[in-house]
């Protein structure tokens, strides 16, 4: 079960404009009992943060209309959201540098395997548990 020490589910924000990718990844997140919100553009993601929504992890695609993932990541960090884990996603295998420069914590090429996601979610849980202690 993907929950922190107090038992609340991991709150995940998935930012992807490709419906198939969003469906598959949100289903994978559900397997780990994450509470998942889906945004279709970087702007939608940013709006959620502006509304005061809090997330433990953001999984953000790179190429999206209106606002791409790199710009969204930069702006999320610029809002002071430094604790949320941000993982960049892309079908481009060499997007590590641009995502890290934007402020992401990690980059994973698409499609993300279940065991990779499991490790990422566990890392988020461990970090929250350590914060609670």
């Amino acid at each position: 079960m993907a929950s922190n020490a107090q038992g609340s589910p991991v709150k995940a924000l998935l930012v992807d404009d490709t419906a198939v990718d969003a469906l598959i990844l949100s289903t994978k997140l559900r397997k780990f009992h994450c509470e998942t919100t889906v945004a279709k553009t970087g702007k939608e993601a940013l709006d959620l943060f502006h509304e005061g929504k809090k997330f433990d992890i953001v999984l953000c695609d790179k190429d999206m209309p209106i606002m791409n993932g790199l710009e969204a990541v930069e702006k999320i960090r610029a809002m002071g959201e430094i604790d949320v884990k941000i993982v960049g996603l892309s079908a481009d295998y060499d997007a590590t540098e641009v995502f890290m420069s934007a402020g992401a914590d990690a980059f994973v090429p698409k499609p993300m395997k279940l065991d990779v996601l499991s490790a990422i979610i566990q890392d988020v849980i461990n970090k929250k548990n350590n914060t609670m202690v």
Binding site: T18, A19, V20, D21, L23, I24, T27, K28, K31, D63, S90, A91, D92, K110, P111, K113, L114
Partner: protein, 151 residues
């Protein structure tokens, strides 16, 4: 009706899709996500994929006509389609996407056009084969009911 025979046929059909290179390991990852809570998940993903990919191919065809030699724009359209193909494990389609992108990088219009035609063929083939596969699965299911999905 001999449901076990239908299931064998479905399994054989699926094996053929892998052996012929239409699908890769990623499709199995999608299958692994199917459970009692989402008993038709794989088919739902496939329906969504063919709806999306059909639209993307159509948009790309329009872009090829409306924006001649705009390789960056063509590449961007194909990038999205390539991502979807990867997600569902549509291996042959993904290969054609990558060939198209290579041709964009080389500024080769004819190469791009050729790849697009191949991509459309692979799209049609995979769609037909998966439709048949899911139809067979539905017939082989416990209820034996078969309703045609809108792909």
């Amino acid at each position: 009706m001999d449901y076990s025979n239908l299931r064998r046929q479905a399994a054989s059909m699926k094996k053929g899709l892998f052996d012929q290179g239409h699908l890769d390991e990623q499709f199995r990852q999608v299958e692994d996500l199917q459970d009692e809570a989402s008993p038709n998940f794989v088919e739902e993903v496939a329906v969504l994929f063919f709806k999306d990919s059909g639209r993307l191919i159509s948009n790309l065809e329009q872009a090829l006509e409306k924006y001649p030699r705009d390789f960056n724009r063509w590449d961007a359209y194909m990038q999205q389609l390539k991502g979807s193909c990867s997600s569902i494990g549509a291996s042959r389609m993904k290969s054609e996407c990558m060939s198209f992108k290579d041709n964009c990088g080389k500024g080769n219009v004819e190469g791009c056009m050729g790849c697009l035609q191949k991509l459309k063929r692979e799209h049609a083939i995979l769609r037909q084969k998966l439709e048949s596969y899911f139809q067979l699965l539905r017939q082989a299911g416990p209820t034996g009911a078969a309703t045609r999905p809108v792909m």
